[in-house]
Symmetry: C2
Subunit: 159 residues, 2 copies
């Protein structure tokens, strides 16, 4: 499984409404993630291929805010309340090791999930968990074809 | 950056003492992670190549407990207090998509960071964040050669 797939599954499982994968068209990724949503329920959109800057500017023009997760930013515990208070639609940006310097300026908030080298996958998961006040972890998804039944030792799935 | 690297960086940034990478010898990974620890401080051990079952049994014989992160397990919010109460050394096991069925039996706790398909990278990050009661995110590391200075818009690093 590729890192981008990890990012998408994390976004879905922790309560994001969808993902935009910038710059790269990736039909296979769209199929993989759409199949997960079809089987496990809920709604989750995925788009790939739009240029990153244009997508971000469109988001901002529509009144949304942009949160960039980076080890260089303000520690999550210091900034999360301010972010939660914002009623605007939120776009959370994660990148690979090298992101364009411009992004640090365009983002409304640069947020550090630890000021240490970390993975964008876990940074995204922890950020969303905090954003939703640690209340998303037991959510059930409507229209699921498959549902995992929590089990102490084993695997149980309900069709 | 490979997924295993994401797992290791997440473990270090969220407060684990070290990682064991089972079965595969990976000299390059050991170098990458050791270099991060050398630059950003703290102590973090990494071992690769030991067979998974033997490592796990040795851990248990030494009095440690084993926590397996899996979407099939008990939801994190339901079980975290019990786990925190345990004074035993904790080994958190994450695997790729297919883990041996035996692991579900050998683990003291099978824990679900959501009962949804998710990434083992974000599952590990969120689990450790909860285990340490959300207090690890602003930790400073002793003996750091590089320290990131939290910044609203930009990158600042202190040597």
């Amino acid at each position: 499984m590729r890192v981008t797939t990890h990012v998408c599954l994390t976004a879905r499982a922790l309560g994001a409404n969808g993902v935009l994968i910038a710059d790269v068209n990736d039909k296979q990724l769209v199929e993989t993630i759409s199949r997960v949503t079809e089987r496990f329920g809920g709604e989750f959109s995925i788009q790939t291929g739009a240029p990153w800057r244009a997508s971000l500017m469109r988001w901002k023009r529509a009144g949304g805010v942009v949160i960039h997760l980076t080890a260089y930013g303000i520690p999550l515990p210091k900034i999360i309340k301010t972010i939660r208070r914002s009623n605007h639609d939120k776009l959370v940006v994660v990148g690979a090791e090298k992101v364009p310097g411009e992004l640090f300026q365009l983002a409304d908030w640069n947020v550090a999930v630890t000021n240490q080298p970390i993975s964008e996958v876990s940074a995204l998961g922890i950020f969303l968990d905090w954003l939703f006040q640690h209340r998303h972890l037991e959510k059930e998804y409507p229209n699921a074809k498959l549902q995992i039944i929590p089990t102490e030792h084993g695997k149980r799935v309900q069709n």
